[in-house]
């Protein structure tokens, strides 16, 4: 009897022993679930979703029909029918070596949250040694935490007498600061709500929020949407140009906080069935410009030479000051940036990928509109940023779009141009995203459809009936029709033009040249790189082989590549659940040698060489 179990998009097939609970099945399959309560069925840590099949939940026999699902606790459930399908949300999986949480991979950390909730018994003031309400609470909290310094604001003092009136058991929620703990809330034990945190990745294009329970070290909910600043300007430089006047700066801050983050916070909280006020601390990661706009700092200095920030390491902010939809006394951490174009997202990448802890020569690249590259080895740490343009995110291509349902995500074909397109979420496609165009160009190059300059074999396109001549603003261009009008969701054919190919070539050339130049400056070659870390959403979805064929990534054995997913979000999350993380990031931002590629003579040559597929120096790509 086989059970198919699925987590983070992958499925394993398990053969359970008779009478094993689902929690045991998962554990034996190498995916232990969170059974903190010892499999008693009380903590809800091992929630899973049952697909069609027959089960025994407790003593009851339950049938789940085709197309239906039912939530249950794995520790209380046994499978009775063959071929049952069970899926676990990422939050139900236990942390092992490298937990894959939703869209990022974390190193193993000892949880040491920066927000803690403690219930203490506050004694009556003793007649012999009278002490104030606050002193008695603080003394208990100091002992329980344990901590040397505990402070609290006026709002806590205002709530304290009421809490004490209800009884001696008081639940205090405290947040760790560099010099001690600050009590954010004091409530009677019975009335205290949960203390949650939220990690936010502010991307130039997309903003992601995850709601987490720091005490349990688990992620509860996730939500994402476009950064609403896009309505005013789409890339970083354009946003900088936009906010010349203070009111425009306020508008952009409003768009990211009121129109983007707050709705996401409300959404994740509603889904988790808690009030947004239960979010007591928030950590934000983003590039330097995004961090400035979030805090309402002028990004003007970041727009032109010498690309200077107002500040790199930020003090702890207050929710109230920023107008965030969370606990009004809540705290806000902003990840520190390294330089104007090496932001908190890169600091997070370095921390999450543990570049400073591991001595082997490592290259980390966070691919996106701006690709950031970090080189680390036992004796040095260097970083640069290389502007690639938006092609990897699907923008700027004739039928390009963001990686979301409806977009073609992967393409496979042979010399006969029998295009097989894989659409996110299935169904008819309405465009293609960055990972698909990488596949298309690599396959096309292998099959001789596309030459090294990124030009089509027109005769072959015509012979196979996929040729189109497309008029654009900037003139006409040859194109390959991938999906005919009746196969697409838009009623229009989906095509890839030679102009699109040239955009991708520029983007891949800038990325490859950035990496190569940084290595050259340190007297190294790609083959010296032992560990190649790929961060960011785009890298998570690309076919590495194809990216190598195209010449975007160097020709290294595939086992040297490590895909960590959204490093920025992972860094923000770690800043909340591991008290050592933020100080570590704040210390590391001073370490890298920041290389300006414009001032590096080799860059231009490397860029031009890399404009060919795979490269003008084909010997760099033996396989």
């Amino acid at each position: 009897m086989t059970v198919h179990i699925t987590a983070h998009g992958r499925t394993r097939h398990a053969e359970p022993t008779p009478d094993a609970t689902l929690a045991e099945v998962w554990e034996r399959a190498g995916w232990p679930l969170n059974t903190r309560c010892g499999g008693q069925g009380v903590c809800r840590g091992c929630r899973v979703s049952l697909g069609a099949g027959v089960y025994r939940i407790g003593r009851e026999t339950v049938t789940v029909g085709a197309g239906e699902t039912r939530e249950t606790l794995a520790c209380q459930t046994r499978v009775l029918s063959a071929d049952a399908r069970v899926e676990a949300p990422a939050g139900s999986l236990l942390e092992t070596q490298g937990q894959i949480v939703d869209d990022f991979v974390l190193p193993t950390v000892m949880p040491d949250p920066t927000v803690r909730q403690l219930t203490v018994t506050v004694p009556e003031s003793a007649p012999k040694a009278p002490a104030s309400d606050w002193d008695r609470l603080a003394a208990e909290l100091r002992r329980a935490l344990p901590a040397e310094r505990v402070e609290g604001g006026l709002d806590v003092l205002r709530a304290l007498p009421l809490a004490l009136r209800a009884g001696a058991r008081v639940t205090g929620t405290a947040a760790r600061l560099p010099d001690g703990w600050r009590v954010l809330e004091a409530a009677p034990e019975a009335a205290a709500g949960p203390a949650l945190v939220a990690a936010v990745d502010i991307g130039t294009t997309t903003v992601v929020v995850v709601l987490a329970d720091p005490a349990r070290g688990i992620i509860l909910r996730r939500a994402a949407q476009y950064n609403q600043q896009i309505r005013k300007a789409d890339d970083v430089a354009a946003r900088i140009s936009f906010c010349r006047q203070p009111e425009d700066l306020r508008l952009l801050q409003d768009l990211v906080i009121q129109q983007t983050i707050n709705p996401l916070l409300r959404q994740v909280c509603a889904a988790a069935d808690v009030a947004p006020e239960r979010v007591l601390r928030l950590a934000v990661a983003g590039n330097t410009v995004m961090a400035h706009l979030f805090l309402g700092l002028s990004p003007e200095g970041l727009g032109r030479l010498p690309f200077q920030a107002v500040r790199h390491v930020h003090p702890v902010g207050r929710a109230r000051e920023l107008g965030l939809a969370m606990h009004p006394a809540g705290l806000v951490d902003v990840l520190p940036s390294i330089a104007g174009y090496l932001g908190g997202d890169v600091a997070a990448d370095i921390h999450v990928a543990q570049l400073l802890q591991r001595p082997e020569p490592t290259l980390l690249v966070d691919m996106g509109t701006n690709s950031e590259v970090v080189l680390s080895a036992a004796d040095h740490l260097a970083a640069c940023s290389t502007a690639a343009g938006p092609a990897f995110e699907g923008a700027g291509l004739l039928h390009g779009r963001r990686a979301a349902p409806g977009a073609i995500e992967h393409i496979v074909f042979g010399p006969a141009l029998d295009f097989q397109c894989f659409v996110i979420g299935g169904g008819r496609p309405d465009g293609l995203c960055g990972s698909a165009i990488i596949d298309f160009m690599a396959e096309g190059f292998r099959n001789g459809l596309i030459n090294a300059q990124g030009r089509f074999d027109i005769a072959r396109l015509k012979q196979r009936g996929c040729y189109a001549h497309i008029r654009l603003k900037r003139g006409a261009t040859h194109a390959c029709v991938l999906v005919s009008a009746d196969g697409s969701a838009t009623g229009q054919a989906i095509a890839i033009t030679e102009m699109d190919l040239s955009q991708v070539l520029k983007a891949k050339a800038a990325t490859y040249a950035g990496m190569k130049t940084l290595l050259q400056l340190h007297g190294r070659k790609f083959t010296d790189v032992r560990r190649f870390v790929l961060s960011g959403g785009f890298a998570r979805h690309i076919n590495l082989r194809n990216a190598i064929t195209l010449g975007l990534l160097p020709d290294l054995p595939l086992d040297r590549f490590e895909v960590i997913g959204n490093g920025a979000l992972a860094g923000a999350y770690l800043a909340l659940v591991d008290a050592a993380a933020l100080p570590a990031m704040e210390a590391l931002v001073r370490r890298p040698r920041v290389v300006e590629l414009n001032r590096t003579a080799d860059f231009e040559n490397n860029f031009i060489d890399a404009l060919l597929i795979p490269n003008l120096h084909a010997d760099e790509f033996p396989s």
Partner: protein, 207 residues
């Protein structure tokens, strides 16, 4: 001298090594460098430029060809100077203040050289004084490049400073448009490096 087909081809396909080899060979064999330039090298760049305008070649091939051309020019430039070669006109090019992008500007410079102009390359991060110095060295036109929306406004400053000094001001770069050029009162705008050549030809009436 007739067109050296091999050299022409080597430039068009961007074979830097071969260009250097052929030019060195020709120079050693006593060929007239002016003819080498006028009959083979300039036509090669012009031909690439025309194909570029017709969308038959794209930026990658242009850049590779330009780099090969540059390699050839480097060898013959000192000889040309000695021979008292007369260029079409002298112009200066530069990337504006705050901006360090120069690949596009270099291509513009190369195409102009390839078309027979003498180019005074002012480099990147050029303030008004640098452009003025270019003019005082005899440039009949100033070509400004900007790749950032944040540095583009500086073109207005340059245009205002040089207006009425008898030089043509031409602007270009990815974020720049014809409309912007008209707005700030520049004399011309070019969408690509080949247009830069055509505008120069037309504005200076040299061809």
């Amino acid at each position: 001298m007739a067109k050296n087909e091999k050299l022409f081809e080597a430039i068009c396909t961007g074979n830097r090594k071969l260009v250097e080899q052929i030019v060195n060979q020709q120079v050693a064999a006593g060929a007239k460098v002016v003819e080498l330039l006028n009959d083979s090298m300039i036509p090669a760049m012009r031909s690439m430029g025309d194909k570029f305008s017709r969308n038959e070649v794209y930026v990658p091939e242009m850049l590779i060809a330009a780099r090969a051309m540059q390699a050839g020019l480097k060898i013959i430039e000192p000889i040309l100077a000695q021979a008292g070669h007369k260029p079409l006109a002298r112009v200066c090019v530069g990337t504006v203040k705050g901006d360090l992008h120069d690949i596009g500007k270099n291509l513009v410079a190369m195409m102009l050289k390839g078309a027979g102009y003498e180019v005074d390359d002012l480099g990147v991060d050029c303030d008004v004084a640098k452009f003025e110095a270019g003019v005082s060295r005899g440039a009949r036109a100033v070509l400004c490049s900007a790749l950032l929306t944040t540095t583009m406004p500086y073109m207005k400053t340059v245009t205002e400073a040089l207006k009425g000094k008898g030089v043509k001001i031409i602007i270009g770069g990815a974020p720049v448009t014809q409309q912007y050029a008209s707005e700030i009162g520049a004399d011309g705008y070019g969408a690509d490096a080949n247009e830069a050549v055509k505008i120069m030809d037309a504005q200076l009436g040299v061809r």
